[in-house]
Symmetry: C2
DNA sequence: CTGAAAGCGCTAACAG
DNA sequence: CTGTTAGCGCTTTCAG
């Protein structure tokens, strides 16, 4: 089927030089101008494409960067992936994508697969904790965490949105509108945000108003509906992601809660449909694509300098889903 | 940095057999039960992970499947990718993802990269035409097109949604409501759908009511707004994708067109926010994930049988964005 | 500056 | 059934 691609050897023969010389020229090594031209000509003539296979084996590592996200279906991770792809493309590196479903076991399995492929640079939205990551990090691969850190692994660079500030801004906005019973609807791995939430609400803290969903849409809906039913006294909710926000809108609608009259809603992550929603959703925008791009940048530049992670700003975008506390 | 991973040779020594035997056992070849056990034990003991690098070079092809989509940020392609990933995972194959931006040149560049990586099986949502694809297909890689075919390349299997039926159903629905001036708002590579649209509207056909956007959200908005302004007499529009639908909703809102009172809207692709929209959008649902899964299946099984492509059903989901023709 | 040669880890003949 | 051997295409000493 395959007509044997031209190899470095063919080029060497055609140019009347040794394979080593071809290799050098093609990877920018030193060579006399004359030789260089002969090689380049031959290569062009033969339409030579160096095979990554040979190089990879020789160097005991595949180029390319691995990308692990919980769910490529989620707009946020889609944009994050897009950022990684953009950066990788400008570096000419392939990207191997895997999804973890926010499951530590599946994550480990994917890491194993990447390692088997010789991928030694990976950007991941981590699902597991420090203990889970321990063995992986010991393998010596170059890791960069994106979107959330692994607690107690500050030695691994992470590219994050400033969740703390985002949460605080949102909570301040809500309390400023008079809200006192503010709920947090969270997803997996949101330790940072929840901590920030607890801190931001301060004396208003009510642990019952903090609920979590697992990764799925169903779980998100169940959590939202459960929350609204059990605590009809709450007047505002902060959703920790676009799927959670979606669930909140749906659950509120189902329970005949008017947004923003009965319930004020702020959603983490600005998605295109936030504006189409009725009412348009007030959101905390996160630079998903930048997160991916910067993470990829770090993982590619690693080795040069030891990078220290990045914190990117969030922005509260006020639209129509928040109002003053309803007065009973 | 890397402590030299254990190789097949190490396992062979530990088990007191030759490397070939280890290779055989590990790839399910024949071996005496006793030998097999010794090898397996040694492998476990040493925590041996076969390196794909060596295998790939030897077999002159990397396993793994390439996936090319226009925009991973688009919910539809996100779901399609998810399907591909699901299938690949169950086959233990890595997926190399690339985006084309619906640009033939960029697509060719990505293909080049995949080839260089030794990837010989790719699922793509094609951007280029038959002429563009010609050289690529001659390289002998295993291709499966997803979501749309390349005209005049029926020799390449394609996994498609039944656009023809989807369009017809939508148009029938709209005409049934009394609409006579129905527009089609299309994106890149929608030859099939437009043809189906032309056929479905029959005598109602008005070429001015067929407009196209390029890939971007901006372009989609511009196309929608332009259409609505130039032809205020239209009463219904069929949007050829979720970004186009989004643009249509936005543009309609901007121009104070009430949906569905002034304008009925049907959107290709059911997305989560279609239900959150106000009014909820009537859509033609496409099995995006299935498309991806089936395509991956085909590309993996190819070689066994010569596959003939798949047509998956679409479904009209009536919600609230269509009404009877407004009577002036 | 350049070429010859030695593998990287694995699989696939080919003998035994 | 099993071991030996010859590379896959490339990079990288090491001499010349």
């Amino acid at each position: 089927m395959n007509v044997r691609r031209t190899t470095i050897k063919d080029v060497a023969e055609a140019a009347g030089v040794g394979v080593a010389t071809v290799s050098r020229v093609l990877s920018g090594g030193s060579a006399s101008p004359e030789t260089r031209e002969r090689v380049l000509n031959a290569a062009t003539q033969l339409d030579y494409r160096p095979s990554a296979l040979g190089r990879n084996l020789r160097q005991r590592r595949s180029g390319g960067i691995g990308l692990l996200v919980p769910d490529i279906t989620d707009s946020f991770y889609g944009r994050l992936a897009d950022g990684v792809l953009a950066c990788a493309r400008s570096a000419g590196e392939p990207v191997v994508l895997g999804t973890t479903g926010d499951d530590a076991e599946r994550e480990a399995e994917q890491i194993g697969m990447l390692l088997e492929q010789g991928v030694e640079r990976v950007v991941a939205v981590p699902a597991g904790n420090a203990e889970i990551w321990e063995p992986t990090l010991r393998t010596g691969l170059t890791m960069v965490f994106a979107h959330r850190p692994v607690t107690a692994r500050d030695d691994v660079p992470a590219v994050l949105a400033d969740d703390r500030a985002g949460v605080r801004t949102a909570v301040d906005y809500l309390t400023g509108l008079g809200h006192r019973r503010i709920a947090y609807l969270g997803g997996p791995g949101q330790g940072q945000r929840v901590a920030a939430f607890r801190q931001s609400v301060g004396a208003l803290l009510d642990e019952e108003l903090i609920v979590f969903a697992r990764g799925s849409r169903d779980s998100a809906y169940a959590a939202a509906a459960g929350l609204f039913q059990h605590r009809p006294d709450l007047t505002a909710v902060l959703a920790g992601g676009n799927q959670l926000g979606e669930a909140a809108v749906l659950a509120a609608r189902e329970l005949d809660l008017r947004v923003p009259k009965d319930l004020s809603l702020v959603m983490f992550d600005d998605v295109p449909w936030a504006e189409l929603c009725s009412p348009p959703l007030t959101v905390i925008a996160q630079p998903a694509q930048d997160i991916g791009y910067r993470a990829a940048e770090l993982v590619l530049r690693a080795g040069a300098r030891r990078p220290r992670g990045v914190l990117l700003p969030t922005e509260l975008i006020v639209r129509g889903s928040c109002g003053p506390r309803r007065t009973p």
